[in-house]
Symmetry: C2
Subunit: 152 residues, 2 copies
């Protein structure tokens, strides 16, 4: 379905110069509650903020990804989607396949599992990708009454 990268460390240095375009990309990205594709972000930018070039959006997002300030997933069709990484370290999400809304989930267990698997196997520099998808309560008006609370 898709994937979510979770790289260790690597909170590298920022990009080079501060330009209006880059600021705009970050600003609009920050304004997005959920994962957005580069193309969608581009649309938002030129319609609600600053008319930037699509290539610039891609370049900026790649840089943000490289420096670990966004989480990235890939949807079914292979399109990448970006979301500003929360400062508190959340890195795994449960994403609604119907509406696309995402929410961070408790992932302590998985982190540990991944680490252990790496140790047992003797592999070095083990990284993991984890993503959950489902149908949220709002998109499933039928059964169940459980509220769509926050973090699991």
């Amino acid at each position: 379905m898709n994937d979510l990268a979770s790289r260790p460390g690597e909170r590298g240095s920022l990009a080079g110069r501060t330009t209006r375009q880059r600021s705009a990309v970050r600003r609009v990205l920050d304004g997005c509650a959920d994962f957005v594709s580069a193309q969608a972000l581009y649309e938002r930018l030129i319609t609600t903020d600053l008319p930037v070039g699509l290539a610039t959006v891609y370049r900026t997002l790649r840089e943000l990804e490289r420096t670990g300030r966004v989480d990235v997933i890939r949807d079914k069709s292979g399109e990448r989607r970006y979301r500003r990484r929360p400062d508190d370290g959340h890195r795994h999400y449960l994403i609604c396949r119907a509406c696309g809304r995402s929410r961070p989930v408790e992932s302590q267990v998985v982190e540990e599992w991944a680490e252990r698997a790496g140790e047992l196997s003797g592999y070095a520099a083990v990284e993991h990708i984890v993503e959950l998808t489902g149908i949220c309560t709002r998109c499933r008006p039928d059964t169940s009454e459980r509220p769509d609370g926050e973090d699991v």
Copy 2:
């Protein structure tokens, strides 16, 4: 980096007719120890088995994916790679970023975690994607002596 789909159930019916091409695709795919891309599989096919069309390879792989007989990952560049799914139900792998070799890993913990997260959140039909990558011992002739054993 990439991703690995793990769908519940859905061991659906086979494709329609049995053709030489489809048999060849499966045959060559079975002969691949690790994940291969459609393009790579196509190369192998026309050079060592049967000259099939690239489109046919894609169509066959999509069908195999749909019926749950292959596991799929996406590499960094977004290219899909396929691997015959073991009959014993293994579904998560630890893949070497250097040589591409993959090995199934024990994933009981993650399966349970995913299920629990789904329940707690109230999301329905929760599916998960999990993949581990690292550098295997063979690709790291330096330190460590731990053997590259089988399943973790």
